[in-house]
Symmetry: C2
Subunit: 428 residues, 2 copies
């Protein structure tokens, strides 16, 4: 394995939406009520929609900043690396990091479009959701064919509308949707109910992967009110552990045998334990709980339906056979603070050294390409997709770390961190 | 490795306290106000202390029952296997399972003595705590030297009293105490505060291991109100994940370099991931959070201070070098529903097949003996401590599964399960 020869498809990155995003996509009737970027007296910029002021749009968009400055979120576009919100600069940053493909989660609407779901005028809200998706699919992802895996948001206040939107975007070539790891926390029925069946049915029918990003329940786990921020950051993957456990005991997989779910930013090192634990609980307890996986074990069901991803996860890769070599994908997490940008190939390469090339290919790109119906080779040819080839196109990209001159809030507590940018901080 | 030659020390089992436990231990002045077992009209028995009715005393004490009956807790002593509450029968059940040594957590006072901490009369409460410990150490564990690792409860409403009790029981040979994985959830300062320093100091000074059992925060994680019971059972180890993360970023280990913490019933398969994640968070974020481990990484600190345990955990054993071979111990969890009793040696043996004998010895007994200052070999001689030798002493023990004729509440939800036996169900 040569780092230059890796082909990297990242299934979890983030877009900071540019202020002009709705201009070409919202119907004229709603133009003056579309979400817009406003400016505070202190120069901070934020999105406003109806009477809700969203969190600062630069939430955790710290790529290229020194780690000393991670604690404060950018509050203006000019405090962020342009690759956060400008598609041309984004692709240049991807090239500089040797990343071929990227799936981008939303920022200002929160992880699955909560901002729109809270809207009072649902006609406006559905127009905004469709405009968001059109911008994302046609303008953001569409500008660079073969470089992006489009991922839609959905009007999740109404499962029938969700199903319509899934079919609409699938017809435009979008085969991923971001949904909630725990909709009950958002005030909707849980994953155990049949409320979402029209949505699941549309996703199964169109081969749309349902992405459950950590934090998409708008609830972060806090251990103690005076715990330092490190604790909260460290335990975020447990959102995914909880979501996966919850999911596996729902009737979804029995009802929709073709459904595929991606656990986004959840990591993989805990998966072998989680599967063993679920199987143990099934074997010990199904006689009284009535759990029924059609003669299978929870881990068997998992293997048919779940796609996982990791940033840097040596223990998970070591146990990749237990995780499932055919279901592991990789992520870069650009431009968030956990990202390995711009050194992803080198850092990832360190944990791939003992893995056969065929398995590396699955983990770094083939699994993601198959799961998300993404075929960059058809667009660029495989030889132009490697880390080495992409970096050759980006020799002029400046990747130097640059201070934004922001104040370090040292010793921030988990509670303070959560409060910094409510309500969107809850979705980080 | 021959299953008959294993030596098994279990660091997590449970005692159902017998109704006579206070008779010989509570001072005369408090005798008529000691906790007592009362009987309901329907024949159910329960502990009463002051004006609080504790949960049914047989919480999850289902050893020997068919799995179809796990869903309902025994509500009378005669519904339980006598080994739950009778010391002679307990030792016979241990022998039948080839288990040499056992650490027993309390049941009716909850995991760390919450029932006493809620008492109005604190003089009565401290008398009850001391009586509880005297019964546990002298009568329960003391009846069979070399078979039990005593584990005290503490008067955790007052850290100075805690320190006194730690020193008092240490002088009687008790080197373990059960404390809370998250005292803030019990209405006390968190592990990040200096509130508990007198307690930590006494534990460090006396070599007392602080055991943090899952559920000792009296809070279980629930994903959704209509999640089936399986989800709640499956995610319980996450209490330990949260507690470990919380703990590692506290100042405890800097202040008390000799302290040892046992994560009880937490499992081990998730530890490699947790350590990697903590190190990653430290490396990525300490520049702005100010986290400081004295030049070490969180995983280095972990190795010096933490003891883990598992029931059945193939992935964790496979990654035992990452977990730490010198810190892994084993547990049986008798008489709870997750227990492998009476087939522990055979089930454990299946996951030990590829492990060198010297490491098996550490994991099955040597680590526990060292951590808890427990020396059964000095009492019985090593040759009488093996699975084979112990089972030879128990050929007459009836281990047949027996129905108690209780109704199966099939399809219980997680919420229902939690409500079945409040408040103690919260501590399960």
């Amino acid at each position: 394995m040569n780092v230059e020869d890796l082909i990297l498809v990242s299934v979890d990155d983030h877009v900071i939406e540019p202020p002009t995003m709705f201009d070409q996509h919202i119907p004229a009737a709603y133009r003056d009520r579309a979400p817009r970027v406003l400016t505070d007296d202190d120069g901070s910029e934020y999105w406003q929609f109806e009477d809700e002021r969203a969190a600062y749009m630069g939430l955790n968009a710290v790529a290229g900043c020194p780690p000393e400055e991670y604690g404060l979120n950018p509050t203006r576009y000019d405090q962020m690396r342009p690759g956060c919100w400008n598609i041309d600069e984004r692709v240049r940053d991807m090239n500089a990091n040797g990343v071929l493909g990227s799936l981008n989660f939303p920022t200002f609407p929160h992880f699955c479009g909560q901002l729109f779901a809270r809207a009072k005028d649902k006609d406006l809200a559905i127009a905004a959701v469709r405009a968001y998706n059109d911008w994302h699919i046609d303008e953001w992802c569409g500008s660079y064919p073969g470089r992006f895996i489009p991922c839609a948001i959905s009007p999740f206040w109404d499962p029938m509308l969700m199903a319509d939107e899934i079919r609409r975007v699938a017809a435009k070539g979008c085969h991923a949707v971001t949904f909630s790891e725990n909709p009950e926390k958002l005030g909707h029925p849980s994953l155990h109910s049949d409320h979402w069946d029209p949505f699941w049915a549309a996703c199964a029918e169109t081969g749309t992967v349902v992405c459950l990003h950590i934090g998409s329940s708008s609830s972060l786990i806090l251990t103690a009110s005076d715990a330092p921020a490190d604790v909260m950051i460290s335990i975020t993957p447990m959102n995914s552990f909880l979501a996966l456990n919850d999911l596996m005991w729902t009737p979804i997989f029995k009802k929709f045998p073709d459904i595929r779910i991606a656990m986004s930013e959840g990591g993989i090192g805990w998966i072998p334990y989680a599967l063993e634990r679920m199987d143990y609980v099934y074997e010990h307890h199904h006689a009284w709980t009535g759990a029924d996986f059609g003669g299978l074990r929870p881990s068997d069901v998992y293997r048919k339906h779940i796609v996982t991803c990791f940033i840097d996860d040596a223990s998970g890769l070591e146990q990749r056979q237990r995780v499932g070599v055919d279901s592991i994908t990789w992520e870069c997490d650009y431009p968030h603070s956990d990202s390995t940008w711009p050194h992803s190939p080198e850092l990832l390469g360190k944990t791939l050294t003992d893995i056969p090339d065929a398995e590396i290919a699955k983990i770094t790109h083939l699994n993601a390409m198959r799961a998300f119906q993404f075929d960059p080779f058809a667009v660029r040819g495989r030889e132009r997709c490697t880390v080495g080839a992409l970096r050759d196109e980006a020799v002029d990209v400046d990747i130097a770390v640059r201070s934004l001159g922001r104040v370090n809030p040292h010793a921030t507590s988990a509670t303070d961190l959560a409060a910094l940018a409510r309500p969107a901080s809850l979705d980080q």
